[in-house]
């Protein structure tokens, strides 16, 4: 980060019409992760088709309202991140730390709601060993939760680096790449929410 020569953050007006958002590496990672999750989704759907009654019964144990709250939290955090990255790219980065902080607060809210939800399920005796549905549920939402926690660390870092007086082009790229990672976390949850909470 400090190795690059000081330069003004590239403004949106200077950006070419077609460009890779962030940088190539983040897309290799994000598309790879999305592909792994796509395999998870397909495996879940296959098992659900084989055991429809068991899945429908266990699905009823989940709290759809809490799942919906978490969806709203992640979608809202994504909006804050888009706005923060936009501020950075347009050179008006003074409000970016506040927006990244709001996104982080939503992310931490997601973690708290998930903890409440899991605690409730554990108190009912539902664990990763409570049948196929709950094995998938705890495994997939657990892996996703790890992504959320990594995303929270990324957002904390972005809050720190956007507090500087002047941002380099490299810093702007880091913000955009971090934002893409956070949106991927949001995007994966959208499908998990549909599969586990909404489908009977």
């Amino acid at each position: 980060m400090t190795a690059t020569a000081p330069q003004e953050a590239q403004t949106r007006a200077e950006l070419p019409d077609r460009r890779i958002p962030g940088e190539e590496g983040i897309w290799v990672f994000v598309l790879g992760d999305m592909t792994v999750f796509a395999l998870f989704f397909a495996t879940f759907m296959y098992s659900r088709g084989k055991n429809p009654d068991t899945f429908a019964r266990d699905h009823a144990s989940l709290n759809v309202a809490l799942g919906t709250v978490n969806t709203v939290l992640l979608l809202t955090s994504s909006l804050f991140v888009v706005l923060a990255v936009q501020r950075v790219l347009t050179g008006a980065h003074r409000s970016a730390p506040r927006l990244f902080t709001a996104a982080l607060a939503c992310g931490l809210g997601f973690v708290i709601v998930k903890a409440v939800e899991w605690a409730h399920l554990f108190s009912e005796g539902k664990t990763v060993g409570s049948g196929e549905f709950f094995s998938y549920y705890f495994m997939f939402t657990g892996i996703h939760l790890a992504h959320v926690l990594i995303g929270c660390v990324v957002l904390s870092r972005l809050i720190a680096i956007t507090r500087r007086e002047e941002l380099t082009g490299h810093t702007a790229m880091l913000c955009e790449a971090g934002g893409i990672f956070w949106h991927m976390v949001d995007l994966l949850w959208v499908v998990l929410f549909a599969l586990f909470y909404l489908m009977r």
Binding site: A38, A42, T68, L75, D186, V191, F193
Partner: protein, 88 residues
Amino acid sequence: MAMTRRVTLVWMLLLGITFASFVVGVEQGAGVASAAAVVIIGLALCKVRLIGIHFMDVRVAPRPLRLIFETYVLAVFVTLATLDLVVT
């Protein structure tokens, strides 16, 4: 400002689709569970596409990246909907 307005509208649309999915999820009857599941999967993949295009800025990405993303969304929808309707 146009960009702020656009992404805010997309966010509102995402919340609207979430609410619509919630209603479909709650209202689905036993006899139409499979059809409801396809609708729920379709709505979720619409949200995925909106997040990718507008939040991840895939709309300004080079054509190959956009093509990969659009193919991903379509492939996941077709695979999950097919598994829902075919596997018994």
